[in-house]
């Protein structure tokens, strides 16, 4: 007899484990591919996965097989012209060898084909930010936290009807019914057995039979009186609200847009911001981004204007720092928000302004910050701003500065800034 079984509802991801194994094994290759991709990736495109290309030879599963050469006899179908003794010119190499190894040989050959496949966005981000962690990621004290979330908390005997847990309720009801009717059932069985015996023996003792029948009837009624379900059987799913740590972050992007910053420099800065944004989005559910650009004056702008409008003039960095501080104080209180900032500049600053920047940062800004990173994008020698910041970074753990020369530096610098060791060192 055959059985038909509908397996369609069974999980279809039986191979998910093996896929993970594959990615794990080829991590080095895939990571390289991911790192290469970040430089080519378009800025707005953060929601897709990535096409990964791996040279096929790294994936080979070798086995002993026969090579080219030697003497082979093959039978082919569809002869349309040959006679015995015909000599055929040897087809270009490879063709004869191909069908000799059951077609599997291609896998172990030196085929330079590339094996490409797609990884999902999550896998992409995991690989991209592997070994990185957010510095200074202390949980905020829960007293400061205003967010709550509802979580399951076992079962309770009181609750709303829509939260009734049917399985548990019926389980309790069954237990109660067994407990309340068990002894009576046992008695009933004894009586019934006795009755059957008497009937089977055709006993003349009719009075006992009648008595037994009455008792049995009485017991059955009593058993039937035990209710199927009772109030105290009911079990309800219990929910409590729990304070949860704040999962919102604000990211300040500060950029110098004075005449000395050209478009390529801005693009480099932009990539850095994107990486930071992607990275933060792994840890926080909600991220707000504030763009502040400045020359001699600072202004809060939208993304388009931030990256693509051209300005001229000198540079006063402290203006941006002041603006950032006031925005942060008024809109993003540090108790509720995780505050991050990234500043990009070519290092120019009005010399008299630098001490002011130092003072602003160390006294009012940094105490409210999770992390402040400064990248200087320039090919020239460092100027006063770098020196001042450098001093600052030595005594402020949440402040970091790095120097970027060209696009290819961005990702390594980023990794360096956020690597686990870096966090430990601090």
């Amino acid at each position: 007899m055959a059985h038909f079984i509908d397996r369609r509802l069974n999980g279809k991801n039986k191979s998910a484990v093996n896929r993970q194994r594959f990615i794990r094994r080829n991590k080095a290759q895939i990571k390289k591919s991911v790192n290469d991709a970040i430089t080519d990736r378009s800025v707005t495109d953060i929601d897709t996965g990535e096409q990964i290309v791996i040279p096929k030879r790294d994936l080979s599963e070798p086995f002993f097989h026969q090579g080219q050469g030697g003497l082979r006899e093959r039978v082919h179908p569809g002869n349309d012209q040959f006679q015995r003794g015909d000599k055929i010119e040897r087809p270009p190499s490879g063709q004869e060898g191909q069908d000799s190894g059951d077609g599997e040989a291609s896998d172990s050959g030196e085929g330079n084909d590339e094996f490409s496949f797609e990884i999902s966005r999550d896998e992409y981000l995991d690989l991209l930010f592997e070994d990185l962690e957010l510095p200074n990621l202390e949980q905020k004290e829960s007293s400061n936290i205003e967010e709550n979330k509802v979580v399951r908390a076992g079962y309770s005997s009181v609750g709303l009807p829509n939260n009734i847990n049917i399985i548990r309720s019926l389980r309790k009801s069954q237990a109660r019914r067994i407990a309340m009717s068990g002894s009576k059932r046992r008695e009933l069985r004894v009586l019934e057995q006795r009755l059957n015996e008497l009937v089977a023996l055709n006993s003349p003792n009719t009075s006992e039979i009648v008595q037994l029948q009455q008792d049995i009837e009485h017991l059955k009624q009593q058993i039937a009186k035990v209710p199927f379900i009772d109030d105290f059987d009911l079990q309800f799913n219990n929910y409590v609200s729990q304070p949860c740590p704040s999962s919102q972050a604000v990211m300040f992007c500060l950029m110098d847009v004075s005449g000395s910053m050209d478009q390529p420099t801005k693009d480099i800065a932009k990539r850095f911001y994107i990486l930071l944004y992607l990275f933060l989005s792994r840890s926080y559910q909600k991220i707000e981004v504030v763009y502040i650009r400045h020359h001699t004056q600072a202004k809060e702008v939208d993304e388009q204007e931030f990256f693509y409008s051209q300005e001229t003039g000198g540079t006063i960095v402290s203006s941006a720092l002041k603006l950032m501080h006031s925005i942060q104080q008024s809109r993003y209180p540090a108790k509720q928000w995780n505050v991050y900032a990234a500043q990009a500049s070519d290092g120019d600053n009005w010399a008299d302004d630098t001490p002011l920047c130092h003072q602003l940062l160390s006294q009012s800004i940094l105490p409210n910050m999770r992390y402040f990173s400064y990248i200087e994008i320039t090919n020239r020698a460092h100027q006063s701003l770098w020196d001042a910041y450098h001093k600052l970074s030595e005594d402020q753990p949440q402040f970091a500065i790095k120097h970027i020369k060209e696009i290819a530096d961005i990702y390594p610098v980023f990794r360096e800034l956020f690597s686990k060791q870096h966090a430990l060192k601090n």
């Binding site: 039986k14 484990v17 896929r19 082919h76 179908p77 349309d80």
Partner: protein, 499 residues
């Protein structure tokens, strides 16, 4: 014209329809004396089919990256439309598990049921290779055990260690099978008895006088006994039993891969027969259904369309040609055997005196039971079929700069073609013959393997990687030599590399 016993011909399938078709197919199959395991037919989606594909048809497989790679390849091929999925997968187990895809039409499902659940199934149950080498009752349990064992090992010893071990085992899987039946194990009791007998015998030979005879100096020139005394073809078995440094769990993992390889070995040897047999039966069974009026023209046309696709054999010069299609060859041969039995010609009487005119069903069952591809072809390939397929045989000798047509489908060529075609399916000609030749038991424990070339075909270029895998398993130096027919020995490679 509506016949009362006609089955519902709508192209969508339902479970009720599957049942009724299956019932009819089963009746017909039993009429043809097809002896099968009970069937377990499972309906799956295309995603699940891809899962089944990537685990090489095992319903339960241990985790390994190579299956992930296979899965990614299959998935991409399928999503880009480069390849279709098979309509069915069938597993040699008891009960026999067959997967049907939900996308199939009713006709396809009927074809697949006849093909897999009665064709392949009866072949699994009756062919001598399967009955000797595989154990359909326990394979599922064994796979469950294997999966559990390997995941336990991963927990204990780390994924890395297990994975690299399995890599090496997979590489050697083809050389991890026994090709000849070994004597069945005698029981512990018998073993003790024998040992006792040997001891008694030795004891009876003891004579104290011998001790007084002075010993001569030992003859050093005596040829040292080799270990193993005979070359061993089952590399995995040899390593499992003899590798000095392996942990017990590693030996067990080797054993698991070896067992799985052995389980699939008969399938490799009977591809033409197995597919031919299943194709012959779906063709015969569905035609019988049609003749008996259970299905109509519409059903038959769709069926024949699929059937002809399956048994299509492109000619050697067609761009679609990629060797001989096992479905086409096997199917034609079984049809041809039936023809020889039912309508033998003069030629058939001459070539097949034993089966010409005999009962076709009995002859077919006999063929199914007692042959593998190689012997099946050399026994039953008829001149009629060679003419029909226009077979010709070519010799490709790398010493010469041309390829020679040595036989075509004519009176002088029939025997050579048949012989050559049979050889083409002889696994021992296709897979390189590498054997364990010697192990330095007293010395550095290095292992020497020998490759015996078939018709001077050299080993492929994977040799060095393979030696690394062997080295990983063996733990000591591994050397590969090539042994020519004239006895010349040439060292191909060693691992670790000698400077």
């Amino acid at each position: 014209m509506n016949q009362p016993n006609r089955l519902d011909e709508g192209s969508d399938w339902t479970f009720a329809k599957l049942e009724s078709y299956h019932e009819k197919i089963k009746q017909v199959a039993q009429g043809y004396k097809l002896d099968t395991y009970p069937n377990q037919i499972e309906i799956i989606t295309s995603e699940q089919m891809m899962d089944a594909y990537s685990s090489v048809g095992m319903p339960i497989g241990y985790s390994h990256w190579s299956y992930g790679k296979k899965f990614i390849q299959t998935q991409q091929g399928y999503h880009r439309g480069q390849m279709g999925l098979a309509y069915e997968i069938v597993i040699n187990s008891n009960p026999c598990i067959a997967y049907l895809m939900e996308e199939n039409s009713m006709t396809m499902q009927a074809l697949v049921i006849a093909h897999a659940c009665y064709g392949h199934n009866s072949f699994f149950k009756n062919n001598y290779l399967f009955t000797t080498w595989t154990d359909a009752d326990s394979i599922i349990d064994y796979l469950v055990f294997a999966k559990k064992f390997i995941s336990d090992c991963e927990e204990k010893h780390g994924i890395e260690a297990v994975e690299s071990l399995i890599d090496s085992c997979h590489a050697l899987m083809n050389l991890g099978v026994d090709r000849y039946k070994r004597p069945s194990k005698i029981s512990m009791h018998d073993e003790l008895l024998r040992q006792q007998e040997r001891e008694d015998y030795l004891q009876s030979q003891v004579n104290d006088l011998w001790r007084t005879v002075p010993k001569t100096a030992q003859d050093d020139t005596l040829i040292k006994a080799r270990f193993p005394t005979e070359p061993q073809e089952n590399l995995l078995y040899f390593i499992e039993k003899n590798a000095p440094l392996l942990q017990p769990w590693q030996r067990e993992v080797i054993r698991i891969t070896r067992k799985i390889s052995q389980y699939f070995y008969p399938q490799k040897q009977t591809q033409v027969m197995n597919e031919g047999w299943a194709t012959f039966w779906h063709y015969t069974i569905l035609n019988t259904l049609y003749d008996d009026g259970f299905v109509g023209d519409k059903f038959m046309l769709e069926f024949l369309h699929h059937h002809t696709n399956v048994v299509h054999q492109p000619a050697y010069n067609s761009p679609h040609y990629s060797g001989i299609n096992p479905y086409a060859l096997g199917f034609s041969m079984f049809i041809d055997i039936r023809r020889i039995c039912e309508e033998p010609t003069e030629e058939d009487h001459h070539w097949f005196p034993e089966i010409a005119g005999s009962d076709w069903l009995e002859t077919l069952h006999f063929a199914c039971k007692n042959f593998k591809d190689e012997s099946f072809i050399s026994q039953y390939l008829s001149p009629h079929l060679m003419r029909q397929m226009k077979l010709f045989s070519v010799t490709d000798d790398s010493e010469l700069n041309y390829i020679l047509v040595d036989s075509i489908h004519n009176e002088t060529g029939y025997r050579t073609i048949r012989e050559n075609l049979a050889k083409q399916y002889n696994l021992s000609n296709l897979e390189p013959n590498v054997q364990v030749y010697d192990v330095q038991v007293d010395g550095d424990r290095s292992m020497t393997l020998r490759y015996y070339p078939h018709q001077s075909i050299p080993l492929g270029d994977s040799t060095e990687q393979m030696l690394k895998h062997l080295y990983r398993l063996w733990g000591f130096e591994v050397k590969l030599e090539q042994c020519e027919e004239n006895g010349d020995i040439e060292t191909l490679a060693t691992c670790p590399k000698r400077s």
